[in-house]
């Protein structure tokens, strides 16, 4: 069975600095998707970034980028120039590629604290 592990329950970073959140996963599939979701305090969870396993190029969305290492089954999220609004729970998630109804498997989450 597929699993997703976020080994850092909590991380903190100084405002304007860079932070990396870790995520590892276990799968025997070759076709899959990986995601980072952000859940701000008392607000909706939103998708931050998505990576297709067949794409070698790491996904980037503005200040957010991933380091996708398929062989190592690692999918870390880098946040550059951290801002106070980045404070949130961050969840890594995995989805098998074939079946459109296949569900996401979620990590336990990492709480990111931004120090002003």
């Amino acid at each position: 069975a597929q699993t997703v592990t976020q080994s850092q329950p909590e991380m903190s970073v100084q405002e304007a600095e860079t932070v990396t959140l870790s995520c590892t996963y276990d799968t025997s599939e070759s076709d899959y998707y990986l995601f980072w979701y952000k859940q701000p305090p008392s607000r909706q969870m939103i998708l931050v970034i998505r990576q297709e396993a067949y794409k070698q190029q790491n996904a980037t969305e503005n200040r957010f980028s991933v380091n996708f290492q398929k062989a190592a089954k690692s999918f870390s999220l880098k946040i550059s120039d951290s801002q106070l609004g980045d404070a949130a729970m961050y969840f890594c998630a995995y989805r098998r590629g074939e079946d459109s109804n296949y569900q996401l498997i979620w990590g336990a989450g990492t709480k990111l604290i931004i120090k002003p």
Binding site: V4, P9, Y33, F35, Y37, S42, R43, Q44, M45, I46, L47, R50, F91, A93, R95, G97, S100, N101, Q103, L104, W106, G107, A108, G109
Partner: protein, 112 residues
């Protein structure tokens, strides 16, 4: 923008009460989901629905049921609430784009 609205942000119920959590989305999404979120456990899927009147069990369906009579509305029902169902419940919808879920703000349920 997609809006997913959950009917109650905070509920307090007593053991044995029947609880309804309602979720409405306004973007004609086929798929709707109910998750339970507990600290250190991430999100666990309770039920999902990919069409009106269709439902599929997720990872933790015991003690829950769902109803989807209309495309935009997906209800979670706790037939007889228990204290171990105290949790945050998240509703989400999607149009089929792999993994791109749109979430409501959550309903925090406390069962006494």
């Amino acid at each position: 923008d997609v809006k997913v609205t959950q009917s109650s942000r905070y509920l307090v119920k007593r053991t044995g009460e029947k609880v309804f959590l309602e979720c409405v989305q306004d973007m004609d999404h086929e798929n709707m989901f109910w998750y339970r979120q507990d600290p250190g456990l991430g999100l666990r899927l309770i039920y999902f629905s990919y069409d009106v009147k269709m439902k599929e069990k997720g990872d933790i369906p015991e003690g829950y049921s769902v109803s989807r009579e209309k495309k935009e509305r997906f209800s979670l029902i706790l037939e007889s609430a228990s204290t171990n169902q105290t949790s945050m419940y998240l509703c989400a919808s999607s149009r089929g784009e792999p993994g791109e879920l749109f979430f409501g703000e959550g309903s925090r349920l406390t069962v006494l």
